[in-house]
Symmetry: D2
Subunit: 271 residues, 4 copies
């Protein structure tokens, strides 16, 4: 019988709308991050809630190190995050931390860093929202476990194509909007050892994170993003001066300064 | 009959080895960039040579704008390039400039930006080089035009797996090394509108850019990377307040400050 | 100045609806294939029209051989095509013939052969059609040349997800339907040397092939699918008894029957 | 605590070499399939051994249905397998059965069906074999669990590029050969619900299936290929006459013969 430690999940929430906007407070009195944490609890994860206004912008080094899967919700204050922090987080994803980027996180520094593109898309924020229908393209994918062919979100912000991302490794969800647009709304990407899932639904003024299917998708994505194992070796800058094949040339001069090596070489040639 | 203007190609060369190392001067007296330019001339491209020590580190704004395909050779001084310049170049690639990254450019800031990964690999620089055999996997690909099933490079630096890149869109070349390693040595990636080709062969102390097949591959890659057309629209941050479908909700409040809008809303509710 | 021979395009049309259904006759009096051929003429292709009821089901050997890009429209009579013919056509695609599969061709034997999957999808054929909006995801792709961000088709048959295809190499178009569904409606796949483009729009009772943008997409796709060059070597079953590396083991016994070889070996061992 | 039933694995072995060739008998007295089964036992799978000469060519319907992951070893007698059986097996993979195709299985009917290509490659069968080095490109992939950066196989048959397969979803292993060739030797593909892993090492006259790392890779691949869950819905041909959006057109006439429908329509028009 297997004993598995619960996955260490950090839910990072910008958590400014919740302080600034009355309508967001109404929909998420416990904050967006708080709502996600509450709803993920029954799945048995080891959950930590963290926000932009916490020390180290919510990412002290020890937390970066211990987090196995991060969930990211940010929107208006992406630019406040320090580049040095983003450097650390990017390195942590490449080293194997799973990353689930939600909704307006498409413009988060960390996500743009990992994609290499602008991550622009088209958008429309109708006051009462509009209908979004999230179609599942891959019923057998781990992220689609227990999900019907489509979900209906009565109130959503339109996020539409063209979405400037690299071709996703896998396209899991494809959204329809009432106003006439579509979006690749659930995409996976592997970068280094890290698995990344972008998931579009989740506006701050609509109770999308109270939808049980949406929460199921997040729980599935955590389990999926956690999957890469930690083997004993990594994707490092790997000098291999000694070849594997007998008789093949070796690297000999790399240990001394190149100029010295060249000077010696020149000496030899003279003689 | 079609009249096509020649493709505007900028060959950017770090060009420091050529000043510092006698052995590089011996192999490339005309510099690496100069050799590439000379050998590409017969193909009819409109070629510009540019180096790190030129004004604006070789990339004045007008050149960034006019370049249709950039070839990139850098090695020891990647970090000297200013982040502001890399911002501009990344934006230019996303806007459609083709980019051909050669050999040690795998660690160039620009390439790492576009990949989102460390781009680490394993390596061995044997003094006289070692044999590399570049196998072609896709004989019908435009980049493989006129290329036999494999090329032999008698002297090469070993660049081996694991190579920390996103899964390439297409794997065109796969290299074998005398010492026992392998590498995905010719990979394509699309980012935004820009087409990117990474090509591993090309060390500063071996006359690889004098090999006619290698030059043919570069010429092919230029033609391929230039292909994306310039249509009238782009991958921008696209606000679409008016839906396409009649009766679907519109965005109404985005033009005034959100707080004002909310205050007015509250007023209305009171009444 | 370049002189290029016009691309040899064969438009294969099942052409039975046109004989059986009054409403199809009304929309396409010149037949579906005839309409496509007429509208592609201005682009300067060398066009051949061919149908299921022609000799060899429209594919005599000489035509298979000479066709550079095939356009495929079939629907109700996929199963009539002989397996032997499909074998030949599959081999021809793998050898480099471009293939553009339209609409109900998703269930064509040839397409299913090349995909390896069921190619099932969801569908609804409303009598007067319903609105489809085809969104372009890759404005710089050759297939999207001269195409705006979206096309509107006032009357279309709904073809929706889940669409059982391998992950496409590139997703170019993504469709929205009035009834609430979505589809990956423009997908590329490379198989062997052949480039394949599946494009969903195009029902027999709606004048979709009279839309100038749809025709532009077909013309673009022909140019794209024709691109793979014909180099001097192929993806064959390639015995290589002699290794490239000196001293590596050779294959010696393959020319005689294995049993004889083994018998001789046994003899040797005895001695 | 989780109680998981052991995965039902069927190891299908052509098992003719073992009857015909003395040298194969010497290396695999228990047969190739027998060796694989014996070595996988410690992992706790529910293993069934099956061969070409068993009833129904080793695939009675009940076994096809109950198998969760199939391992496939075949070589000289691919063509003996009936097309009807291959139809069933292909459908079973699309419905979710995992498939691990070994070595000469690259030319198995089932694999070619699922790929849509010739699956040709280059090859050399030196009498005593030659050295193959299997490089791992993705240390964090489930199939690479517990695998070092490279494996050395002192005796192997060369299987080299160009390998005529669709671009793999993931390239996990890349092989180096003593004679100078390379191969994408560990590739994943998803087709329908089914996960497929092609793994090149494993010749009949070399004891490759006695290598503990090779067996670890097979065990890893079984666990990975088994992962797709069985949700309540499938990738079927899905008629959806009733749209999801209110007011969108319905399909009305599909239940009666089209000709009758058209006749009625014509009647209406007359009046």
């Amino acid at each position: 019988m297997i004993k598995v430690d619960p996955i260490k999940v950090t839910v990072w929430n910008e958590c400014r709308h919740e302080k600034e906007d009355a309508d967001v407070q109404e929909v998420y009195p416990e904050t967006i991050g708080g709502c996600i944490v509450d709803n993920l609890k029954p799945y048995g994860f080891d959950l930590t809630l963290s926000t932009l206004d916490d020390p180290q912008q919510g990412w002290p080094d020890a937390l970066i190190e211990s987090t196995e899967v991060a969930i990211w919700w940010g929107h208006r204050y992406h630019d406040e995050l320090s580049d040095a922090l983003i450097d650390k987080l990017q390195a942590r994803v490449l080293a194997g931390m799973g990353l689930i980027v939600l909704h307006s996180g498409h413009h988060a520094k960390l996500f743009k860093r990992l994609m290499g593109t602008s991550c622009n898309l088209s958008w429309r924020e109708a006051e009462g929202g509009e209908r979004e229908r999230v179609w599942c393209l891959k019923p057998s994918h781990p992220i689609a476990y227990n999900i019907p062919p489509y979900l209906e979100l009565p109130q959503s912000e339109m996020y539409g194509e063209p979405f400037d991302i690299p071709e996703p490794d896998e396209l899991i969800f494809n959204s329809w909007y009432q106003g006439g647009e579509v979006l690749r709304s659930g995409c996976t990407f592997q970068r280094g050892r890290g698995r990344i899932f972008f998931f579009a639904p989740g506006h701050e003024t609509f109770p999308i994170y109270r939808d049980e299917h949406i929460i199921q998708i997040l729980a599935n994505a955590i389990a999926w993003a956690h999957q890469p194992h930690q083997s004993g070796w990594n994707l490092g800058n790997w000098g291999r001066p000694i070849p594997l094949e007998e008789g093949a040339p070796k690297q000999t001069y790399y240990k001394k300064p190149r100029k010295l090596m060249l000077a010696e070489k020149a000496e030899k040639v003279k003689k």
